[in-house]
Symmetry: C2
Subunit: 187 residues, 2 copies
């Protein structure tokens, strides 16, 4: 079996160069990735994870990671908190939408509470701790967006105005407003 | 050259089955896709495009499409409006975040105005028109999320509360709050 080998070429029906397999012509379309995460509060303190993996191993972050196929952002944020911190979250609302075009990321960050006080490091975390807001290790946070999210969460906690619209209650895009189902491929 | 051929198998360092090329072992990771779009107003009317492509050819939609690599959602929403309607937009704010897990989509929808009154059908549109809100062809809208976005835009126009936090002004995730650049791969 040959090794994977891709060249940058422009498909006939496209205006942008894509990675095309030299062996069989498969077009590897690349899309920006969606990161889902949460600022998690418990009794006035904030849950942070110390990263066990690169990039930024040893630095502190909020629980967050890549959304999987067929997952709602809310479910993904809860899954990541479980995987990284064994934390069972109640999500309150969408806190912020960030974009990091350099690495083709869009981040959806939620406000959350612990459903129960248990937490523990998952395989991608060296440590998990609750921090008093005044004791957050700001010099050891992993990413700019962790700073942003903690600042925005503090603003929201202090009474900043409400949050974005999202899907109507109970709707995940499977039916028209009159109840008719939509066909596969429609959004 | 063989045809592209993929089997669903679980890579060694992974817990989820991925599409792996039978010819060369390339792992085609699939991620949810980000759709960016806009509810566009001009002198009280709303810009809609009649789709020239499937799915839902012939139905009306707001200008929207897939975010490209290294593009901010705002730039993507403006690009899509240009491609589909030759419309030059001024984006006002993020209106809504929708998710459609069935087709692994997250949609970011903006409120926008026309920068100048020109518009015309692009290659993916049969027609582009401005509609008085009372004359929107609700029975001929392409997708549930077009209904949602038009309803949310009407709420916002009527004075509904403000919108989500987003990146701090001027920030695209390339530096820490103290100004230090972040290394490649960090977010």
């Amino acid at each position: 079996m040959p090794e994977p080998s891709f060249s940058l070429r422009t498909p006939e029906d496209d205006g942008i160069a894509r990675k095309i397999c030299d062996n069989c012509g498969f077009v590897a379309y690349e899309n920006p990735k969606i990161v889902v995460g949460s600022v998690v509060r418990h009794e006035g303190r904030i849950l942070l994870c110390r990263r066990a993996i690169e990039p930024r191993r040893g630095f502190w972050t909020i629980p967050a990671g890549y959304l999987e196929l067929n997952e709602t952002p809310e479910d993904g944020a809860k899954r990541e908190a479980w995987e990284e911190a064994e934390a069972d979250l109640h999500l309150e609302c969408l806190l912020a939408v960030y974009s990091v075009p350099r690495i083709s990321q869009v981040q959806l960050i939620y406000r959350a509470r612990l459903q129960d006080p248990h937490f523990a490091p998952g395989p991608e975390s060296l440590d998990v701790q609750l921090f008093d807001p005044a004791e957050i290790p700001f010099d050891e946070l992993a990413f700019p967006s962790v700073h942003w999210a903690l600042a925005h969460d503090a603003s929201a906690e202090a009474g900043a105005p409400p949050l974005p619209f999202s899907n109507p209650p109970g709707e995940i895009g499977n039916r028209m407003p009159d109840g008719r189902p939509v066909a596969h491929g429609e959004s």
